[in-house]
Symmetry: D2
């Protein structure tokens, strides 16, 4: 079987990572071309990886040697890219969040449905070895029935200028919490039906002008009765910190750590080690496994690991949380 | 200066611990007598500690050689015990929660105010060396401005019969979360003004008959803008687990651990150690420091470390959380 | 049965700890008197604990209300104190090391044997909950047959003046390594038959004048074939660090940790916590359990938990290690 | 500049890893061919990586498009492979141990010296991020002057048949301890001048027939006065465990961990996580960095990071340790 030809739409930090993986180490995948609204960036990445740099998404989608696309442009542009890719008959890997609103998400899913192409959403944590093992153990009953789901994500040192991108990248709940919302549904095999959120522009008050918030706590209620909480923070000065805990009737599973190298220093009355500061360092393996699995599924005609509906529900929970923090009340999640 | 004569009212697990500490290792304190509605228990503890076993609270309060009382009866009876002790001119150490309702708490505070005696509430975590050090560092500015407060308390293996005591012991939010509510106010030096809670009788569904819940997540909003979340769980099968984290603009402090002995076993593909299962093992030192400090404050005429108002606000937050989980809406905390 | 009357001979840091425990919290034990060559110190401790301060060991031993003595004078004086106490018919708890030489140890054991009194040696680590649990698990076969024994002890910030006391306190191998030698024999239930040691006055070169060394590594060979290594260091600037590991054919057990409070701070790119700096903080519980058990054994006529022979073999291994590091060769341990 | 053409001699587990890295992810390196005494294996690896499978080392060395070779055949054959490669004018990366004896090592170094080609020895731990960071910090003076060097390496579940390969692979001290000997010299920037070793065929007694031992403890003395100990064990049932500690006058650095995924499970009275079991998982990154650096050094004419002399001294220390454990005495290391 021929390798799956790939185009990457949007080669910022995330898209470059996918492009490099597809160029070097994804069996069955072959990077053909990249495109970016920033033409210089597209050229630079294309040159570095010795592939074609396309002038536009259209040019990229027109290529016959491209079977599948990775959409890693800003979330605001996901829906139009999905529509175009689906219309061009391409298989689609779309970064999370799938869209900025449920309406956009539904529009995207319809386009894919009409075209009958393959869509997988980039909730890569499902591919992290620790999260994957946790899922396996929960399914096997090791911790009994899930009672409480906890998760937190703290980004390292975001800048106010990041917050100014809220209109095209979405809020903290789109960008960061949506990972936890997906984990909540996946690890519990249940649906989140109700949320309450408090939020604030607490670490970077100057970002209020962009209608942005940098901190949030979101209570969750699941259809099956379980409850939970997600915390998201945009500006941890100490590192990149992602932790999840699933408490069951028989025990609890904790996922997450903060140590980058196995080196510990003990000096005058203190024991210390370094911390992780970059999400790519934490999830490098997950990104590789995710893309390998995407290729396998497309080639073998198996369904996506993270479906369009999964991506849509992360957005739905985020929308409910946004409404809750704005209106100061509990909000039901659209199913 | 003579040692402070002590009577302990209620010598269940908690009261016995205070009685033993006062008998053996609290400088400046001298255990004189104990009382309990269960007369056999009073006699047994009195005999074991070679002190007087009183037939009633009244008999205990009537003794001239008693300067101060420890109230560790069930919370429903705190208010009447405080009233009687205040009327008898005794200094009062009252276990948490101060009361089951704000109304009871206010009644108790008025009685103490009228009698002008000393009242301290038993939020002993403030005396735990780790929490005390955290407070010191936060005050010193080590983590900058507090942004997010997180805390969880999971009790080891509560039984449904414990839940049946809800009418006299209060709910999970009185018994367990009130510790976290006190930490929230103390560590942030701020007031909790609004809460939202989800809860459930998830691990022990049979306790719904007692109107009890064994699990809760409570979102907090502080007057100064910070946000937070408290999780409480009554039935952790794996141990007694108390953890708090205070996230600031410059870093974060984590308090809590789960290892009882410094022994680690590595056997076929697993590294493991034991866990704490009892709150007395976790906070033994805090209980001793708390009582020593109470004695010092009374003898030196200094104000209480945990005031009646502090005790009342833990109850106020608990009441708001109870209302929130019942009515499904955000509730303001009475100040 | 009456409480066992106790005298403590030598009330430096260690003896004071035993005296305080016996005064307050050893069931069945009753502190009667203390003695010290430093008469002021004896008076001060006696006053603080409200017991008799004796002018001399002889005066203490002459008291009829003293049934047992704790010998915590400098090791050079252990043998004469044991001889006198045995002659006076007292039961004896002697701090480690039992003696500075095998000859002295044998002299002491003979005196005890003649007087038929009870002698236990203060290798208190056997009473530490973690070490006790490790022993239980090894005996139960959890790690299979023991193959390698590793142990290290690093004292916090010893001073050159401590080293100047080598003639009366013994070397690093008497003072520190003897703990590990006792653990080696006890945890493996085997005898150390051969040793090789390198040593040096590496951290405090100025102590060479006292013929002292502050660092040592000691290879061990056991009668049953197992091998091992002990490391001792007198001058760790970062804390008090004691760790042991027993490797078996089925797994390994690690004992030891360095964290004093369960508080972790994460600030700009570093995760840190405090460390233990004092041996009393690490082994407080072990000292209490040790003395309680000594009292029980004496009163119940059971044999000592750490026999004179055990104490003697720790000295024998230390002597062999001293000879080895001096002569640069492997030395057999006298059995 | 053209990519450096590579041939890999010996494609067992280690050689395959190097070959795969050179095929996929070493910038400036290009895998051309592989050879193995096992022709089937050579063919299989060559096919998998789409490179040439050579029938013999000679055939591989005869190729003009090969500039450098990786020698990862069994250690007994290193010296002849080095001689042949040097004679063919190839640059050489030779796996550790450089040779089985000092004589062989010297023969190899002479051949390289005569041919004036480049030789680097595969002590890859120097490229592990944690070890590299430790080296940097020690050099910067963070822990003061080095006093004690400790290191241990425990292989996961070696089989007796591995031990039967002692004549061609060398002893435990060649295969495993040589890593620690190299770290000892490198991290302390000092020479090991004297050793004492105890050893035994303790976990796999049946391997005594091959004159093999599976356990060893080796005391070290350094020229500058520092002392140390290395422990090596061939048959840890619990995982692959590599740890090093460098104790200095101001603090200590610990390198090593045993957790593979950041997942912790707490179930009934136990907290546990998985362990590493394979050296490739632990040092995957080090192997990639090592080979990248080798390529850079060759291309830029810089000296090797791990010189022939470094490789020779690891062998020299191993030889001294072997002599010591055999003869029961301290042995000086040939410099």
């Amino acid at each position: 079987m021929n390798a799956l030809g790939f185009g990457v739409i949007g080669v910022g930090e995330m898209g470059s990572c996918h492009a490099e993986n597809l160029r070097h180490c994804i069996p069955g995948g072959r990077l053909v071309a990249v495109a970016d609204v920033n033409a210089d960036r597209a050229r630079e990445v294309a040159a570095r990886l010795s592939v074609v740099g396309c002038e536009s998404t259209e040019a990229l989608l027109a290529r016959r040697d491209i079977d599948a696309v990775v959409i890693s442009s800003p979330p605001k542009f996901h829906v139009s890219a999905i529509q175009a890719a689906a219309a061009a008959g391409k298989h689609i890997f779309c970064e999370k969040p799938l869209a900025l609103t449920i309406e956009e998400a539904d529009t995207a899913l319809e386009a894919v449905g009409r075209a009958a192409t393959f869509l997988q959403v980039g909730h890569m944590r499902r591919y992290d070895p620790a999260y994957a093992e946790a899922k396996k153990r929960i399914t096997a009953g090791e911790i009994g029935r899930v009672v409480i789901f906890k998760s937190l994500g703290r980004d390292y040192e975001s800048s106010p200028s990041t917050a100014s991108q809220t209109p095209i990248n979405g809020t903290l709940f789109h960008d960061s919490s949506s990972h936890d919302f997906d984990l909540a549904r996946w690890l519990t095999d249940d649906e989140v039906i109700e949320v309450h959120a408090f939020s604030g522009a607490l670490a970077m008050p100057e970002t209020r002008q962009f209608n942005a918030f940098d901190s949030g706590v979101i209570n969750l209620r699941f259809a099956g009765g379980a409850i939970g909480n997600v915390e998201s923070f945009m500006h941890a000065q100490y590192g990149y910190d992602v932790r999840t805990e699933v408490v069951g009737t028989k025990g609890t599973l904790q996922i997450g750590y903060l140590q980058q190298t196995p080196l510990v220093a003990l000096t005058r009355s203190q024991r210390s080690h370094d911390v992780l500061t970059h999400w790519l360092a934490r999830f490098a393996e997950a990104y590789r496994r995710e893309m390998s699995d995407f290729v396998s599924r497309v080639r073998e005609g198996r369904p996506p690991a993270v479906s369009g509906r999964d991506g849509r529900q992360s957005v739905a929970i985020a929308m409910a949380a946004i409404e809750s923090q704005r209106d100061g009340r509990v909000v039901r999640v659209r199913q």
